[in-house]
């Protein structure tokens, strides 16, 4: 008799949350945690209210202020964003009425949703967690099945504690070998998207595995999973290990005492079986990855910082060629030229991708004793108020400000238009964020995605710079 095939990690969590198989192919999945923010969560809470529905388990719904709130010191409910105050005030009132936990402006635990959720122990291994925000898969790094949804689905998740989800295919991306000096999780995920395209993961849940992934600290794993959505994936995740359990232990909402022991025993069973069947497998040799940087207007428009801007003429696919030509024109760059050495106007460190304490420490290591080049606007926005406080406790804020960076309150900030702030037209920005789309960081703004250390190095040199030339090996 044939043995049943093994399960992937995602299939295992999926099965553990299956309430029933619905007619029509979808699965009714139990949702453990819902997280909201004031841009898309406000409208979900208002929608529920308007329909006269209640949040089924308010204790398992959380909300933060990050997408609209500004990041200037001394901030309040007013923001530079036109109409912004309404989002903040509406969210607060609706959150209170619904009885959910709100990380409000001024709360020492406020911050960017995907930074706060693991920091608080709300995202845990093995849970299902949804948020009306595309980067929710970030916390898949703990071995959670977490994915972004729309506001209407968020209403559904809050009212019913479930979502009807269509089946997804399974992919494993294995990074073999050891990551070279000066290369980070950001470079790994950009390299993946560069090689396999921004639509390479469409229809898949992607499990990241391999030696180079196991070697990553938890905060770096968040960066890797964060950009699974930029690969087009439904979500990304990583099997939890001892580092994961150590990270989770003692966090405010994490299980304690006997509950901890029971949870830990369960979490140790969360992995893909040796005979699990993946629909697709990608292997990337981590030893060959250089610091990566984008040159165009899609995350797939990226190269090693020591490489040359590709020539659209060499692209066989007509639609991709057109997109490349359009991107070069928007970015004011020339095919065949190096990207390194291109002068920049601004540098930004922040966002749910790269704003955690380890990111700030690494960037500060580059900046220590150095100055941002003249004429370069440089901004650092910590991922959460806790990250900010921890950074200040070890003096990182002074490293940033002495180098010439602005040091801000936490929020999504200039990743897009949060707080109503943008970079200028034709300004060239090197940024630790996740999207280099046209007009994303400002109308006509030219964004180059890179790791926080690459951003720091480029800020110092006033031009796109290979971080390895400035990194201190003894650090």
């Amino acid at each position: 008799m044939a043995q049943p095939l093994g399960k992937t990690l995602a299939e295992r969590i999926w099965a553990q949350h299956t309430i029933t198989q619905l007619d029509g192919g979808a699965t009714l999945l139990y949702i453990d945690r819902v997280f909201l923010h004031e841009r898309t969560g406000s409208i979900a809470l208002k929608g529920l209210e308007a329909a006269g529905r209640k949040v089924r388990e308010p204790g398992q719904v959380f909300c933060t202020m990050d997408h609209i709130v500004d990041t200037f010191p001394g901030r309040g409910d007013d923001t530079r964003m036109p109409g912004g105050r309404e989002f903040i005030v509406t969210t607060r009132a609706a959150a209170r009425a619904a009885g959910i936990h709100l990380f409000d402006i001024g709360d020492p635990n406020q911050g960017i949703v995907h930074v706060v959720s693991p920091e608080q122990g709300i995202a845990l291994p093995g849970v299902t967690l949804v948020c009306p925000d595309s980067h929710t898969g970030t916390v898949g790094a703990l071995g959670a099945l977490a994915w972004g949804i729309g506001s209407t689905e968020a209403e559904h998740a809050m009212a019913t504690k479930t979502l009807a989800v269509n089946p997804q295919k399974q992919m494993r991306v294995r990074f073999t070998g050891q990551l070279p000096f000066g290369v980070t999780a950001k470079d790994m995920v950009l390299a993946l998207i560069g090689r396999h395209g921004a639509a390479g993961g469409v229809g898949y849940i992607v499990e990241f595995a391999g030696l180079a992934v196991e070697a990553l600290e938890i905060e770096a794993r968040f960066t890797l999973c964060n950009m699974a959505i930029e690969f087009g994936a439904f979500t990304g995740l990583i099997a939890p290990d001892e580092k994961t359990f150590a990270y989770v232990e003692g966090r405010p909402f994490a299980p304690k005492g006997a509950q901890w022991d029971a949870a830990l025993a369960h979490w140790r069973t969360l992995y893909s079986d040796a005979d699990a069947q993946f629909d697709e497998e990608i292997v990337i040799d981590a030893t060959g990855i250089a610091p990566q940087i984008t040159w165009g207007t899609s995350p797939q428009h990226e190269i090693g910082v020591d490489g040359l801007i590709p020539d659209p003429a060499a692209e066989a696919d007509g639609n991709r060629r057109t997109a490349m030509e359009r991107a070069l024109s928007y970015m004011d760059l020339e095919a065949g030229k190096p990207l390194a050495g291109t002068p920049i106007d601004a540098a930004f460190i922040g966002s749910c991708t790269n704003s955690r304490l380890s990111d700030l420490r690494a960037a500060a290591e580059i900046l220590r004793g150095r100055k941002v080049a003249e004429g370069v606007k440089a901004i650092c926005v910590p991922g959460s108020s806790r990250v900010k406080a921890a950074a200040e406790a070890e003096g990182l804020d002074r490293v940033f400000t002495q180098a010439g960076f602005e040091w801000r309150e936490s929020g999504c900030s200039m990743c897009f238009f949060a707080g109503g702030e943008s970079f200028g037209r034709e300004e060239r920005v090197i940024t630790s964020t996740n999207r280099n789309f046209e007009n994303r960081q400002g109308p006509g703004t030219r964004s180059h995605l890179a790791s926080p250390t690459s951003v720091a190095a480029s800020a110092v040199m006033g031009q796109i710079t290979d971080v390895r030339t400035l990194a201190r090996k003894d650090a």
Binding site: D23, L28, Y30, S134, E153, H156, A263, R435
Partner: protein, 205 residues
Amino acid sequence: MEPFTTHSGIAAPLIRINIDTDAIIPSREMKRVSKDGLGEGMFANWRYSNVATREENPDFVLNRAPFRGATILLTGVNFGCGSSREHAVWALKDFGIRAIIAPSFGSIFYGNCVRNGILPIRLAEETVAGLADMHEKNPEARLAIDLPAQRLRDAQGGEWSFDIAAADKEMLLEGLDQIAMTLKHDDSIRAFMARDRETRPWIYA
């Protein structure tokens, strides 16, 4: 939700790959906590040569007659990738778009379409390119969609079938409120929760 059964309309070719939801509705066009009135901000950075004054860019396809009245979009790979903002779908709907035909879609965007009465249709890249070319040359031609039959027919007699998950099809056809549908399974949900409290008590602590 407005049900979708059959529809015939002008189809606008907007063949670009990886059109993201920031392009469909820029952050600065989301000014209120509301699903309404977002059509004006749809594709704002492409549609207007001056976003502030709303001066139109005459080259943009949806500013050209008769595409100004398009109800169907023909577009490229990975349409609606990026941000989860449902505002992208609300903006398209407010403008009058009823169906979007592309080789693939961003997954959150796809779900948002289905939940708002917009039919997302996946067709092979060559097929979409052929349709786009035909409608560029014959802008007045109407494209006919039959969701119950899962068929698409162009004005020149070309016909294609398309796949859609049965659950998505039902939601669109019936214009159903999904929460009400799900709550028909409330006994199963409650039973699951009771069991789960025993097996994973830390989730409920």
